[in-house]
Amino acid sequence: MKKLTIATSVLALGCGTAAIAGGHAEKVAVLETYANIAEANYADSLSAAQNLQAAVNALVASPSAEALEAAKAAWLAARVPYQQSEVFRFGNAIVDDWEGKVNAWPLDEGLIDYVDASYGGPTDENEAAVLNVVANASFTLSGEAVDASTITPALLENTLQEADGVEANVATGYHAVEFLLWGQDLNGHGAGAGNRPWTDYAAGAACTGGNCDRRGEYLKAATDLLVSDLEWIVAQWAEDGEARTTVLADADAGIAAILTGMGSLSYGETAGERMRLGVMLNDPEEEHSCFADNTHNDHFYNGVGIQSVYNGSYTRIDGSVVDGASLSDLVAATDADLDAEMQMKLAAAVLALGKIKTAAEAGFSYDMMLERGNAAGEALIMGGVNGLVDQTRSIERVVAALGTSIEVEGSDSLDNPNAVFE
């Protein structure tokens, strides 16, 4: 038995390297489409974030109800391309390492600004849960004094983000900006998003919530940082960028990266962490965009992004299309039935996620769906979850059919095995 195992191991290794379906040139063409879509998708995210930046600057310069609404509208628009780009996150280490700066979630928002008394105080898990940087120009963090008299991108990025080693201390990115624009959603399972008054940014006596100038400073710093972080990732996917060259360096590893991104986002991340957990906890704070009530769009555009990558066709925010040789072509050449199954599952998941979006936009918001005993809401959300889980099974079949091997996200400890302890 032992001998057999050794012999077949070698065989498996031989197959693993030589047997991956499709020729090298076909795979490189698929990877080029993939990298082109990534570049276009992040470029769209950047240009939408620059619109947000202009709206935020206008709000801080001359606060008004209209200026706040314009900034909120720009934030919502900025999420459309970004959520589609999440399919590039898992599988591309460079994206995954960077992603926490722009889309970390969930957050203990009391770190940033004032919160309602019902939010509670510091917890076992997070001593900085109600630090309130907007109200405090200096404070102690992990035993060290911090000078926050000026709120800068550097302060957010280097000192506050994941402060005290706690992931819920999210000081940067879309969700920090979202909180500063909308405020806490205190409606529980009732209709309505966060309702921060525009006067939270007003000057002088009109200021509500205290420290309006510092709040504006924080909002500007967080938005500027978001734009510069997106500029960085766009460059990584450009002609000689590191993300693009890494994906193209090894065709088989590149194909595996595409599939890893599709499967991990479908299953562990969106279906599990973001959707199913909220249903099981009946907790409106488990919404991905809990301040803006935009969760239905977050999930929907995740699904669209996964589908775009497989089909090798991305529709940009100006309506133009980036397309080319696709993973679908590669699978069809090996197993046409499996390609049809994969396309059908992806379409079914997008449709199921679309039903959540449709209901939410018609007034049945995501936090209402999460309410205990709300069977219709649970059925809608679980429809999306099941669609994503179902497509993951087909993604695994594609992995097997292409003879490729996925690198599943592991823990840091496994990534850096320490031989000393063997």
């Binding site: 031989g14 197959c15 099981m280 009946n282 695994e396 400890s413 063997e422």
Partner: protein, 329 residues
Amino acid sequence: MREFATAAMVLWASFAWADTPDVTASVTHHVLPGYDLLVQNTQALAATAEQECSASSPDLIQAYHRAFDSWISVSHLRFGPSESEDRAFALAFWPDPRGSTPKALSALIGAQDPAVRVPDAFRTVSVAARGFYALDFLLFDAQFTTDATAYTCALIQAVTTDIAANALAIRDGWLNGYADLMLMPGNDTYRTANEAAKQLFTALVTGLEFTSSMRLGRPLGTFERPRPKRAEARRSGRSLRHVILSLAATRDLALRLSSSDPDIAQAFDTAIMRAERLDDPIFASVSTPQGRLQVEILQQNVDMLRQRLTEQVGPSLGIEAGFNSLDGD
């Protein structure tokens, strides 16, 4: 190029068929007996709680430990009936990074929520207020044991009844169809025996990952910031016990899937022996350099095991792990 690839694919496929591990033995000797024991011990727990609902009752505490032990021994089997209707989550909501369990329990008690009187109503309650980890609070945390009222008693009974019902539903799901899906592949869930084997292998590897990154990794935190309070079920002193029980259960499955590979048995035995030698039931010592080192070494043992399984055993059997719920952040 294409032709060559096709030829090699056929070779690969036939080889995989020849060596697909014994799914039948895993299902009949690992999965089903594990769930039988869970059903038996959770029914005993619910029956005991009907008689004795005080946290100071030795019978109740003993029944809690027995039932929890049998859950940990199947806790790696996160697919099929355990995932239907969120049963496994309702039995075991942990880790709980936002403190949802004490919050949800306090909310029920504060509102004197009548859901505790009707099992069907209790099934709609947040999973954070249900299952074994809720009992860890209700039976062992002073916030709930001090001045316990008749409502707390009813809540403990509702939780244990719900646990028993979920355990039964999972076991019945296996007996009434799911086992056949695995034993007689060629259905839409498992098209081939290889897909069924892959599911079991994924459960095995994910179980080890959970032990490493959650059961050990959460209390370890970082060297600068150890987090002993994050240890699993620390209130009832079960943290290390879960590591040992889970290693023993995954050892059984690993040996069935690997035709009793002696190297794998040896690697499990090393990890289990190291865990048994740790004199630190709730990993309180992770705050001291020496204590921390011991827990880190144990974690390394578990990681090596997982690595050996994914890099050597899986490929040699023609299977590799699929996506799991721990992918993502």
